[in-house]
Symmetry: C2
Amino acid sequence: MPKKVIIIGAVALGPKVACRLRRIDPDAEITVIDRDSLISYGGCGIPYYVGGDVADLEGLYSTTSHAVRDSEFFKTCKGITVLPRVEATAIKRKEKKLVVCHLAEDRTEELAYDKLVIATGATPFRPPFPGADLADVFTMSNLHDAKAIKDKIATGQVEKAVVIGAGAIGIEMAEALTDLWGVETTIIEMADQVLPTALGRNMARVVENKLRENDVNVMLAERVEGINGDDKTGVKSVETANGTVPCDLVVLSAGVRPNTGFAAQAGLALGSSGALLVDRRMRTTDPDIFAGGDCIEMRNLVSGENTTMPLGSLANRQGRTIATNINGGSSHFKGTVGTFCIKVFDMAAATAGLTFNQAKTAGFDPVYAIVAQHDRAHFYPESQLMYIKLIADRKSRKILGIEAVGAEKDAVKARVDAVAPLLAGGVDVDDISGLETGYAPPMASAMDIINNAGNALDNILEKRNRPIDVMDFIDAFQKGEAKVLDVRGPKEAAPFMEKYNGQWINIPQAQLRENIHMVPADEPLCLLCDTGPRSYEAQILLDNKGITNTKNIQGGYGMILVTDKEFIA
Amino acid sequence: MPKKVIIIGAVALGPKVACRLRRIDPDAEITVIDRDSLISYGGCGIPYYVGGDVADLEGLYSTTSHAVRDSEFFKTCKGITVLPRVEATAIKRKEKKLVVCHLAEDRTEELAYDKLVIATGATPFRPPFPGADLADVFTMSNLHDAKAIKDKIATGQVEKAVVIGAGAIGIEMAEALTDLWGVETTIIEMADQVLPTALGRNMARVVENKLRENDVNVMLAERVEGINGDDKTGVKSVETANGTVPCDLVVLSAGVRPNTGFAAQAGLALGSSGALLVDRRMRTTDPDIFAGGDCIEMRNLVSGENTTMPLGSLANRQGRTIATNINGGSSHFKGTVGTFCIKVFDMAAATAGLTFNQAKTAGFDPVYAIVAQHDRAHFYPESQLMYIKLIADRKSRKILGIEAVGAEKDAVKARVDAVAPLLAGGVDVDDISGLETGYAPPMASAMDIINNAGNALDNILEKRNRPIDVMDFIDAFQKGEAKVLDVRGPKEAAPFMEKYNGQWINIPQAQLRENIHMVPADEPLCLLCDTGPRSYEAQILLDNKGITNTKNIQGGYGMILVTDKEFIA
């Protein structure tokens, strides 16, 4: 008898399970239900639809060959039944029946299953402040929202917008609103940095500056207390602890909550996040019920803890695993190392593993290096500075995380992707020094930034390099607690000598060996060069001459440039 | 007493050893000798200097902060003695002395060492045909050659050029000559494909077509018999087994030979290639003599065999290892997986591991999948087709190699770099299906091409997908041995229906389920769609209906497009 498989949810994971299962089991009766009318869309593409990169909404639910992915498509091309506007309300696990409601007719029905797949995703969180449910307060949960926002902007109804939450979606939406439409946009974030779960503070600062450069107003460490307006005249402003931000539109991107209410009621176990617990075969605590995507917890393979990670890429891979296992195969989804990337205007950021703070919380003793270097041979005309932060555990030298920012987005991705797949298995600092990635002058340096990140971290762990974080340096310098010894050329140093008279000393590297006597030996010195290597060599030279009260500014002038433009203005 | 360290060779590895050693041992007496006057240059940058991307020769031997890397620079900035125009002629190992000749004065001297480093590199091979040593027959061995070629072209002396050898340097030089200077350029290659040691024939064909598109004349499977001309009037033509190619300039890029004569005479062991044998600590068979770079053999970590791999990136990493070990540390260079990348006009190719043929020779039973897919979300405006070939061993499912070509060079690199570092440790097909790389629509697909390459190979290994290579398909089709069942839309299929009347059948995927009776059941059918997934689903559907004499064209129409434009013209 053909296997009856019901899949709840027809976006990302659901269709992937259905299509893969159909290919490996031609006889299964596969039914996919979804409470929405629009299905199988690329939800991650919504900001690019709003921002105009994707012209039509249909682009987000069409195949590469421009077929619209609707019920008819799934029927004729895939042999799969999709029922839109049908919501799952309960699971009768003993009888193996799913109770559903046909929303259009408000009719209840019971569907028998052999295997059930929960792919219900997550719902954007609406914080409990006044006005969060006003009509012009949008979340980015589905294509209806996307269309409503774009229509509103395109008809000239939006001059000012507030985005609440500086996570990935918040940033992507801020770019969409600003870049194409010129909407005056403010991001308000509770944490003291953007992308608080993805990046450490230094790299987040680079992203923040890129947003500001592109006229996005960024408010950090700011609590939203309410949204003013009404459903007739629309949104008027957002009220924060420190003031009022006028706006015509609010985008809420303050995280998501897994849609697991009916699953919990059926007795399936949830993790502390409220998402479903699954094993490596993607089975819930009921072996006939699988789950995946945004409604489950998965293992973080670096910290060992459970986490949620709402990403279409993970959902698709989990979907394949589920289909294989429903068909009697054995496929494992081991977890995630939190690989993430984002385009931010003409720059990209990427990360994998844990941030410094996450590593500390997870019980490691993290140490990091920041390296600034060209993304290809420095003599190659297109080369631009890229920045990598590499984090390892002090004792084991195990790599815990990597973060990168830079102008060439695929090059940024290349560096992080070369390390990410190694994190789960365990990889140490020396492995990164020796990492074998592709080399040709138009794409990399002979000693590539990724290898140099390993080398720099090795030198720090071996105590040959005593670094100071650029943000700590700026802080100490501004408090008058440190002087700068600039080992660049006189031309580069001149403006700073003038601006910071006495606190900024210049001895070019080539003259340092013979001018040690000019180095103030008894006060804290921060050593500076373009990107770090020359100041590191200066530190070693000074150490050998007994001048040891020095710190090497990580990433040098290049890192200051993207961290704090005011400092060097 | 300070350690006396002599390094023979001042390009790439030599300077790296010297600089790193200086940083970790402030007291060592470090001397670097080189027979050339120009030192510490980026040799891999020569084609970009000739092609104009790098304006001045100095760009190739300057630091990122525009300091010229000459003897003075090494003395003042690094505390290292560099002696140019000094050649090593013999090693007196018992006395630990190096015999050198000061070339300018023709004076011999003996230098005592505690540790010796051989970084003598390799010399371009001049095949033993007549004319190979004419003045206008250049090799790309040093900056003098580079300058001579560029000067000759810039003064209008070159209208036609022949490049002998279609390896990386040959292709980069062909691009340099054609792209900026409009020199009519012919590449002549003995093998029946370009990049014969780096790519399989399909991917090589894509590179070859890109060269042809850009007006490079490519002659394959062609033997050069001599070069006509004389030193006074210059080169006239290149004589091949099949004809005469007129030219004013010849670039020889027919491989290199390691410079190990004096080392062999000193009794150091060489491998079968003539390059030095070293252990993982980069020591030759004399533990006081280290060697690295283009003059050594290293382990291929996939095949287990020894290989030479003349790449600046490997040399730099080996240099760090040598310095650490000279200083009493313990650093290992384990070998290479042959990671390689190259820009070819507005395209790039990258590879790691073994090609199909290399895998066979190494005793594996290789199976491969070719996947054509967009390099980012297909709805994202910049997205373009990328092509990946993934090769695994049939029985162990271990990944043996990966090749990629595509328009966005950093995106191509990203895919290969994500796999390359895993090859040494052993990674299987399922690991690639589940590979966790960064996802955001502007940089990847939710189910990225790299994961789909794993999935496609899994399906082939599981015998769910019976593929045919696009080149085999074209061959069989042209011989009339196969028909095409095109499951794309009627508009896409129409021109081929007309051109290949009767041999080209069209049933769009959405209509196939209900039109099985129209499929010829008794003759060989090759299934075609845009890039492969729909024809794969068609194959499964037909299999279930008992029509099993089908093969799925790997990479579909997209792969034909870059393989054989004539076929679809």
